[in-house]
């Protein structure tokens, strides 16, 4: 197989994946969901430290100013999750998602433009519940199943440019939209006497947001970046009516990148999101440190990150620790690149621990 057909086939495979949530968590089931990390595979491979410097990460915009050619990027993610409740029960879950798609290019006015899709909040789960209820003088056991499949997505239109040689700025408008197909089902043990019930509904979400970012080249080897975002309320519609309106958080992030020599880049990042505005939410703070080494055609990446999670029971936010590694390989004279990242995530919170292995496979094409 030549390289061009291989790249096209991989593109088709990525496109065939459904645009659903990524890296969901049981901590978010009882609330809005699990906020997603809008990172490319490269950024994931460095624990998120390079997110504000990587043009294929849809979180920020300023880094697009250095884009030299039109670029398309997407990635798919396979995750295996072990959910261990405090009761001792443990369950293995797995899913495959398609969390990020980015298309970026140049305009005639030295302004770069980008659009794409990224997951904003994951909302995919299937929860079963076993209980009984007193009906007509008897306890009637039943099993409930609540299934949600889908997410709240973020469609972005971003612009970036360099007003000064050392300063890149960018901004984006975000259309927050998406839907989850939700099913609730009750199965009675005595289903002859009591009929089982089933309801299906497409729950739709809408909102708007705006973000600004800047990237300052402090020196030839040092860059700093900042990013901020504000969103409107997230409106939830079911059966054609608005059934909920939830505040979305203000978010900020900052990062520094050090490029001490040609084959090594080191970055660190911090981020904060005010998720306490949402019901059951916690403000989150996180940091990342990551490094990328090697030639552009075959870089190797490492990273570590620690975050608080936005949702979880109790007054304290659950914690998340991630150790990451990644690699990339260029093809077609640098016009295509396959990215791989693997991540071990450990989440801990009241009543629940989660252990994840995630494998991200991305494709970046520069025609």
């Amino acid at each position: 197989m030549s390289r061009r057909p291989a790249v096209l086939a991989l593109t088709a495979a990525l496109g065939a994946a459904l645009p659903l949530a990524a890296q969901d968590s049981q901590f978010g089931v009882s609330s809005l969901g699990t906020p997603a990390r809008q990172e490319s595979v490269r950024a994931r491979g460095t624990g998120g430290a390079f997110t504000l410097f990587d043009e294929m990460s849809p979180l920020a915009e300023a880094q697009l100013a250095d884009l030299e050619r039109g670029t398309f990027g997407a990635h798919t993610q396979v995750s295996r999750r072990t959910v261990a409740f405090a009761s001792g029960e443990s369950f293995e879950l797995k899913d495959t998602r398609f969390p990020v798609l980015v298309a970026a290019g140049r305009t005639p006015w030295k302004i770069r433009i980008a659009t794409g899709f990224a997951t904003y909040i994951d909302r995919s789960y299937v929860v079963t519940r076993r209980d009984s209820v007193a009906l007509r003088g008897r306890m009637e056991p039943y099993s409930d199943e609540h299934k949600s499949d889908g997410n709240v997505g973020d469609i972005r239109l971003a612009l970036a440019g360099r007003p000064l040689k050392a300063l890149a700025v960018g901004g984006a408008l975000h259309l927050i939209t998406g839907s989850t197909q939700e099913e609730v089902r009750r199965r009675w043990d005595d289903s002859v006497t009591y009929r089982n019930t089933f309801e299906l509904e497409d729950v739709q979400y809408t909102g708007l947001g705006g973000s600004l970012s800047a990237l300052l080249d402090v020196s030839r080897t040092l860059r700093v970046a900042g990013w901020g975002r504000l969103d409107t309320r997230l409106k939830t519609k079911a059966r054609g009516q608005t059934v909920d309106s939830t505040d979305l958080p203000a978010q900020v992030a900052g990062a520094v990148e050090w490029h001490p020599r040609g084959a090594l880049r080191v970055a660190a990042a911090v981020r904060w999101a005010g998720w306490s505005v949402a019901p059951g939410g916690h403000d989150t703070f996180g940091w990342s440190i990551g490094a990328e080494a090697g030639s552009p055609s075959l870089p190797v990446r490492l990273g570590v990150r620690r975050d608080l999670m936005a949702f979880g029971p109790g007054p304290d936010a659950p914690t998340e620790l991630g150790l990451t590694a990644g690699v990339a390989r260029q093809f077609s004279d640098g016009r295509a690149r396959i990215e791989l990242a693997i991540e071990r995530i450990i989440r801990s919170g009241p009543g629940l621990d989660e252990r994840l292995w995630t494998l991200d496979v991305g494709l970046v094409v520069r025609p």
Partner: protein, 423 residues
Amino acid sequence: MRRRALVVVLLAAACTEELTTPGVCPEFCPPGEITVVDTLLADLVGRDSAFRGYVQPYEASVMLAADVPGVIDSRATFRTNALTSRIRLTSDTTTSPVVGVDSMRIILTVPRRDTSARGLALALYRLPLALDSTTTFADLAPAFAAPPIRVVQVDSLIALAGRKDTLTGDSVTVDSAAGSLSVLISLDSAEVGYTTADSARLALGIRASVDPGAGSGVASVSIGAGETGPVITWFAKVDSLGFQTVQRGLGAGVAFDGYVYDPPAAALDSNLAVGGAPSARSLVRFARPAALFDSAQIVRATLVLVPVAAAAGSPADSFRLVAQRVATDLGAKSPLAGPSFAGDGSYFGLAYVHPGSLDTVTVDITDMLRRWQADTTAPTALFLRTDPEAGILGEIRFAPSVHVALRPALLVTYVPTFPFGVP
């Protein structure tokens, strides 16, 4: 080759999803919960009324023979067709006259009897040939007062080896799976009483009796009518061209069958009468509240009927009460919906009524209500009737909707609309 494998793996992985976990509630369960409402809707039924005359005793699928002193006295009756006067003995067109009968065989099917009774006997009586649908219990009283032409001891026959009386030729076949009997009665020429003037037409009546001191002491049997009615075979004597007399078996169809009973059915009143003979039905109409029919999922629905008096009928004969929805609401003439009672709960609900009992009767009509939810054009009305109609003498009367305290009600369990999207 490696790249191909990578593509295949990616395509396969794109379809994988296993996300099921047990809920540890409320901490790790989704917002919202399926709620169940179990409530008695007393004002749902209205514009109900009773009608009689749907199935007459002579249209019933069985003839009823019962003798419950002080409660009911019912006697089966049937009349045979005329016997042909000439028959062909050879292959040519020559016919020979019937000059008399040697004997006759009657086969009766008994689909239901009180198996707790002992000493069941069926007594055959000769009845006037004028027997028809207008004949009353009183009209036949003199004929039944005469000595019977034969008394068949059914329980004794069952106890005999081979279930056959070799002296009389009577026998019984027992279908234990169906719980039915087939009684074969052999009558000789003297018992038959063949008369040329009547063209061998014959009207017979049957009374049932049991040993009052044993078992339930209640005599009550159903004898097949119509398609399962008596099978009559004459063994006729034919003049064979004046040289000798030969015997031929000739079938005689049943021209009429039915039963007479005393006391007659009580007149209808404001209550919801069901059963008896001629059969009575009660039409029950339901309102269609939007909260229940438009947005809830019905889990269980039970029609609650309160009798105003103990159900009438033989104590041994509990009977089936059927709630069957109507295809179109035309009042008393509303046609029943559904082809039969075979299994489809969206057409009917079923309950058993025990004569002498004042217990509230409940009928499960869950599937019927769910059908009404799905078909908004269907009339939300049903008939209460017995099964088989006029095949049972039991009758029950329920309080109507105008009776504030005892009116029909719907005990319904339902799941309201789930609050999707509400945190």
